[in-house]
Symmetry: C2
Subunit: 154 residues, 2 copies
């Protein structure tokens, strides 16, 4: 957390954009995650998944969310870390085996905290896209972001 | 998905409640998940986490979300499975090692689909609580829920 390249509240402005590296997803990762956290047939077995809503193996939305977080952590280097209070999430289309994910984030709004002068609330939008540019997840979280500490003058 | 105890759209009404079993969380699970999906110091190392916003080891919000999904899958037996389009998520307080999680879900609203007569959209609220009754996550997803199939009369 002492990395000098990390960003404080003062370093952010609406419109700032951050693009992550990539994560290649395969069926094995999808099935492993689902077995632990979302054991439903359309996340576990490609053959059985064909007769479901998804018409084939699809990743759990929470798997897409977790991978998006991994990509966000490596692409938005906030001082103090990425601390989310919540937000809106949507999965416009399923994440599939063979998808190569990346996230593109944009700063939407910055509000200094009134009660706590050392921080602010930043709303961002983070899109998760595959290699075809298809949006797999839309997330609009609010983050707690610290101000740059004032040097001690005592 | 052929389980006869599964619920169709006609079986749900606003106010219906579903309570899950429990999941006991420990530091090892928190660190393992974070290493894969949310590698930040406050999710990885209890000692280093003391100097952060969380003042001690805390689970990734996405870990809380994934565990909540596991508990939801086992407690809300929808025919066709739990298919979420998205929703709002909030983490009012951190999930900690030693927390024993369960989810309590309530049906808020049911809308038959206009374009697709075989299904409807159901909005629920799912709270994730620990053994002290503290709310760790508030999720309001919209789900696609199938109607009971009409027997073929041909």
């Amino acid at each position: 957390m002492q990395d000098q390249a990390k960003l404080y509240l003062e370093d952010l402005a609406p419109g700032d954009r951050f693009v992550s590296g990539e994560h290649a997803l395969d069926a094995e990762q999808i099935v492993t995650f689902a077995g632990q956290f979302d054991p439903q047939v359309f996340h576990l077995d490609d053959t059985l998944a064909r007769d479901t809503f998804f018409q084939g193996l699809a990743a759990s939305g929470w798997h897409t969310a977790a991978l998006s977080m991994k990509l966000l952590v490596s692409s938005l280097p906030l001082a103090g870390g990425l601390i989310g209070a919540g937000g809106e999430i949507a999965w416009p289309q399923p994440t599939r085996p063979g998808d190569v994910l990346h996230v593109e984030s944009e700063v939407l709004e910055i509000k200094p905290s009134r009660s706590k002068p050392d921080r602010g609330i930043v709303r961002i939008q983070t899109l998760t896209l595959n290699q075809h540019g298809e949006v797999l997840q839309r997330l609009s979280p609010t983050l707690v972001v610290m101000r740059r500490p004032v040097p001690d003058e005592a």
